[in-house]
Structures are given as C-alpha cells and as structure tokens.
Assembly symmetry: C2
Homo-oligomer: 367 residues x 2
C-alpha cells in the first residue's frame, strides 16, 4: 500500500510539474486517503517541493489498523488547534515553493483566504480534479477490495431474504442489513442503506421510514459494504407475497431489460453517455421517459459516487479497470417501482467483458 | 414549525438589511434546515429581496414526514442537473438585488466562482456565521426535541447495560446501540457511536474495532440519538468485572470531579473558557494536564458539534437555553481511560440551574 501511495504521489507530482505548480495541497478526504493511505480527521497532504507531509491536528486522530498512513510519508502534527491546510501552505512556503495548487472544488472561500493570508507571496493555483482523475482507473488491489466488499454485501442481502419480512419496518430492515454487513467484515455501510416498501419502492435514495412491509408490496433495497475504504453498491427489488401482479411483472421486466442493456454496453472505449442511453432507451420504449433519474450509473471507489457519471450529458469514455454501477429504475408515484443496481468493473472483451461484482440473483423473487 | 422558520428568516433578514446585504444564499445544510424546516439534498435557501425560495434539484429529493419544507416557503425545483446555489444567485439577480451575501465558510472556491460568473454585476459579500449565531440559543421546541433524543439515548444505553458484555466486540456493541436508538424512535444515531474497550477506553472519537470486551477492562461508550434533526450526546465509562482496580477508581473519581466542576460552572453569563477551565483544572490537579482534548464541551443542536466551544481559547459567554456537552476525559496510552459526557441546557439559577438531559447514572458501575 505504501508503495502504491508513493507511486500515486509521483504521478501527481509529474502532472503538477507539467502544469507549473511547485507544490500542492490535497484536502479532499478521499483524495488524501488515496495518496497517503490514511485520512486522520481533517488531515491534508502537502505535495512539497522537497518533501511530502501529511499534516494533521493531533496524533489522537490517527486511527489504528488499516487506516495507517503510508510509512514513506512523514506526519506533521500541529501543536495546537488550527487548520492543517493553512499550516501546510506555510510549510510549502518554507520549502521554497513559489506557487501552490489547491483543490478549489473542496476548499471553502474562507479557508482559501486564510491560506492566502499566511503565504501572500505564493501564487495560488487550482489543482482541480487532478486526483479524482487519477482515481478513476483502479489497480487490482483496489478492485480486490471492491470485490470483497461486494461479497460481503451479497451475503448480508442473502441472509435478509431468508428471514420473515412482512410486518417489519423499513428502518429495521435497513439496520439489520447494516449489522449484517459489519458481521461479515465490512468497515461499515458504504452509504445509508435504503429500504423502500410499497409506494416508496423504487425511489432512488429513499430514506427508510416506519412503514411496514405488506403483502403485495414491491420491496426495493440498496446497500453496500465499505471494505478498506472501498465502497460498492447493490440494489434489488422483490415482490412480497406469492404472486406478483401483472403490472409488477411488466415493470420489473422493463427495468431488468434496461439494466441488462446498460451492463452490456460497458466496454473499454464506450462513451459514458452511450451506456446511459442504452439503459434509458429501454425505459423510454416502455413509456417511462419522464421523471427518470439524472444518471443511470456512476463510478465507485473510495467514494460511493465518483467519476465517471453515466448520464446523458456526460463527456468521456470508459477505460478498462473502471468500476461503475448500472442502476436504472422507474418509480410510479403512489404505486411504487423497481430499481436494479449492480457494481461492475469494465473489462475488455478478451478478458470476458464486464466483471459483475454483485452476484445476487436478478430474477424477480416473490418473498 | 413553519411559523418558527418564518420568524427565523425575518431575524436573519433584519441582520442582512443592517449589514447592507440585499439578498443572501444559505447553503450549509444545517442552516438551510433551520430556516426552511427541511434540507432536500443539496438544497439552498434564497433569502430574496421580494421572496424567499428553497432551491433544489428535484422533487424526488424532498423527503416525506418531518422533513417537509415549511409551507410559507416556495420550492423552486431546477429542471435539470445544476448547482442550486448558482440558480439561486440568478434568481436573486432577477429579483433586483444588487448585493448577495453567501456563506464563505461553506461554499467552495469553485462554487463561489460559478456564482460570480452567473451574476457578474452582483456584489458578493460574506454572510459569515450569521445563521450559526442565530442557532446558538434554542427555543423550547428545539430543546424538547433534544430532551426526547436524550431520553431515547438513555433507554438505549440502559438496555445495553443489562445484557452480557464480555466477549462481544466494540463494533457489535456499537451497532446494537444504534439499533436500539432507532427502536426507541430516533431518526438515527446523531454521530458514529463509539465503543472503546481496554486500552482504547477513554479515547475521544474512538472508532469501534474488533476488540472484544474482557474482564477488568474499562469500557467507554459515547452515543446519541438524532430526533427530528436534533442531536444529543452521552458518554459513560464502566468497569467490566466484579471489582475495579485502584487506578481505575482513582482515574474515574478524578474525571467525575472534573465533569461535575464543568457542569456546575454552566450558568448564563459564564465565559465559555471558564467552564472549560473549571473541568480542566481538576484534571490538572490530578496530574493530567498533558494530552487533554482541545475542548471539554461544545454546543449541540442540528449539528452534533456547534457553537459555543468550551475550550481554553474560546471567546464569548453562555446564554440561557444553550444546550452544551460537558465531556472531560483522560486517556492513558496503553492502559485506557475514562470519559464522562452529558448534554445539558444552560438555565438560570432561578429555574434550577443547568438542566441535565442525559440522566443515566454516573456512578462507576462494575458490569
């Protein structure tokens, strides 16, 4: 891990040098973790002219176990309270840098001003999304973390499906899933688990309520494990009771077909918008072109929603070794709906095509 | 609630007018919720020249139940993807404002630039922490939410103490506590529940690990319920086994005395730093002046850590109806430690002095 972090910093340094930045401060937590192997609370990474430093407010904030900073990187602990980004800027100046790139999409206006005031002679520039771009294509160690996270997620979901669901609330089912994720070795849930029943089913990002599962409901769940910081996602929709209604079968088949079309469009070199269009067209052909979510998928990694976006206006193409979700859905207000969501890794045809990480069945189960 | 939100917006508007801001955009989520009664994901509040608007990206992001925006406030939903803050700035311009205050401590440099580019003729000013300052003193409805949250928290903790603890991991105990919070009616945990055993005990913000509870351990827990958005906090330390060791009793008594001193110093008009000093001096008198946390307490409300800070360098005085935590602790590296944490509301002597919301016993229990 240490070695990987050092390689990543070298890549970033090359980009900075090419762009004319003498030094850079990385403040966005997932970016700090990517480059330093750990994110003590509030820590920033100084990519310095003479030395890289992980600047943080106190050793008590450094967590044990996996979340240990890379040993090739020196920790600089502030003596008192203070903003590590401001301290890092001061250190960059002391190392003789004349310009300093910062993450303008993460730093607030107030912090940026505080940095400027401590190093008035440094030219402040924008690092923009350089680190996010480095993070898009994953190495096999990262994919392996996602794969383990997906296994944990499948296990947690599988166990839930074996239990009695009718009469239990969305909130309880969500908590139960999160407990099972941790039971199976997750750091924790990758995001707030969503369980949606009846008229709530199929709503993207639905927050669990006290509604209880009833016979005849659609039940949609969306969950994922975080494992060593890497976050995956699965979404499935089930029917409660012995026999789904015709409209439920029709809607399910349509979303399933859309999701399959999206999955099949995942190839290295495919335009992100074309993957989105593949899924969206199927939904449109079923008369559901209105009220669709803005994206039908997105990258995952150290954050649950990262580049690339699979959306109508998305630019760019997919590369191999990019993990993404494919998650079309339809929600009919007042009636409920269906979402089906997988995490997959883009792989070339020669390697067997997209690698499905979340393998729970996508048949319409009646529970 | 609607009425309260309208009153709060009127107060903010008066401040804005006095400061010469024609309009303001509130983007920090807890501030939006305070003024609008809800925080649809990414929504911002425009305090406009002619009308206030809650600007958000999609109706699907509006959550049901309590989290419903105030009916005196019109919802402005963007047609496509986009930054609600940028859209709100555009609307402020259309309403004829010539200046616009924004939360520079919340908006990123990049978003601020995007706002500037859409309304180049508007003078952008800093709203600073105006809303946070309004939020410090709570009304009785807010305190009632905190009180219910504290009751839920006490119940969850009380139930855990009745169960067998030895052999269970920190992670499991933390999850169990969070489940019980929800069982008793919490929206969810107010923050990540901390359970720390043995050498981890007493570490502030310790993230639960797979370490199991052992005989002779200190066990410290810190948890809290969020109830209708309001977040409280309790921390307790216990001993596992029949008889605590002498060093454990001594350390416990010291932290208990420090925490009591802090609680007793909570009066309207007391300087925040004096409350901190009251607790800190006791710890110092016991030989623990090094390695102490930067603050011994903080405000709570819509966020778990808000103004005021009870810290050596804190400015300002306490007012009545300000809920704060008092949470001194000592951690001895390699051995463990003690933290005791309550949520209280500052009240005048005539009303009986500080109101203790978290009433779980602070005797040293041997479990």
């Amino acid at each position: 891990m240490s070695e990987m972090c050092a390689i990543r910093r070298t890549r970033l340094r090359e980009q900075c040098n090419a762009a004319g930045h003498a030094a850079a401060i990385v403040s966005r937590p997932a970016n700090v973790r990517y480059l330093a192997g750990a994110t003590p609370h509030g820590a920033v990474l100084l990519l310095g002219r003479t030395e890289d430093l992980l600047v943080c407010t106190g050793p008590r904030d450094v967590h044990p176990a996996e979340d240990r900073p890379d040993d090739t990187l020196r920790l600089h602990v502030l003596a008192g309270p203070g903003d590590p980004a401001v301290a890092a800027a001061d250190l960059a100046g002391a190392q003789g840098a004349d310009s300093l790139a910062v993450e303008e999409h993460h730093l607030t206006v107030a912090r940026h001003r505080a940095i400027r005031s401590v190093v008035p002679r440094l030219r402040l520039t924008d690092l923009a999304a350089s680190v996010e771009q480095l993070r898009v294509v994953k190495d096999e160690e990262e994919i392996s973390c996602l794969r383990i996270g997906a296994e944990i997620t499948d296990q947690a979901l599988g166990e839930l499906l074996e239990s009695i669901l009718v009469g239990r609330t969305e909130r309880h089912l969500a908590l139960e899933l999160e407990r099972r994720l941790v039971d199976h070795g997750a750091d924790g849930p990758a995001f707030t688990t969503s369980v949606a029943t009846g008229p709530n089913a199929g709503r993207r990002g639905h927050r669990p309520t006290d509604r209880r599962v009833e016979e005849g409901d659609f039940l949609s769940v969306c969950l994922g494990a975080a494992y060593r910081g890497y976050r995956c996602e699965i979404g499935r929709t089930f029917v409660i009771g012995t026999s789904p209604a015709d409209w439920q079968i029709e809607l399910y088949d349509l979303v399933f077909a859309a999701q399959r079309a999206g999955r099949e469009a995942l190839t290295p070199g495919a335009a992100c918008r074309d993957v989105d269009r593949a899924a969206r067209q199927v939904l449109g052909s079923g008369g559901h072109s209105e009220g669709l979510p803005p994206a039908t998928g997105h990258g995952v990694g150290l954050e649950i929603d990262e580049d690339p976006q699979l959306a109508p206006a998305a630019m760019g193409k997919l590369d191999a070794c990019v993990p993404v979700t494919v998650e079309p859905g339809v929600h009919l207000p007042g009636r409920g709906g269906v979402r089906i969501d997988d995490t997959l890794v883009v792989r070339p045809e020669a390697d067997g095509g997209p690698e499905l990480l979340t393998i729970t069945t996508k048949e319409l189960l009646a529970l």
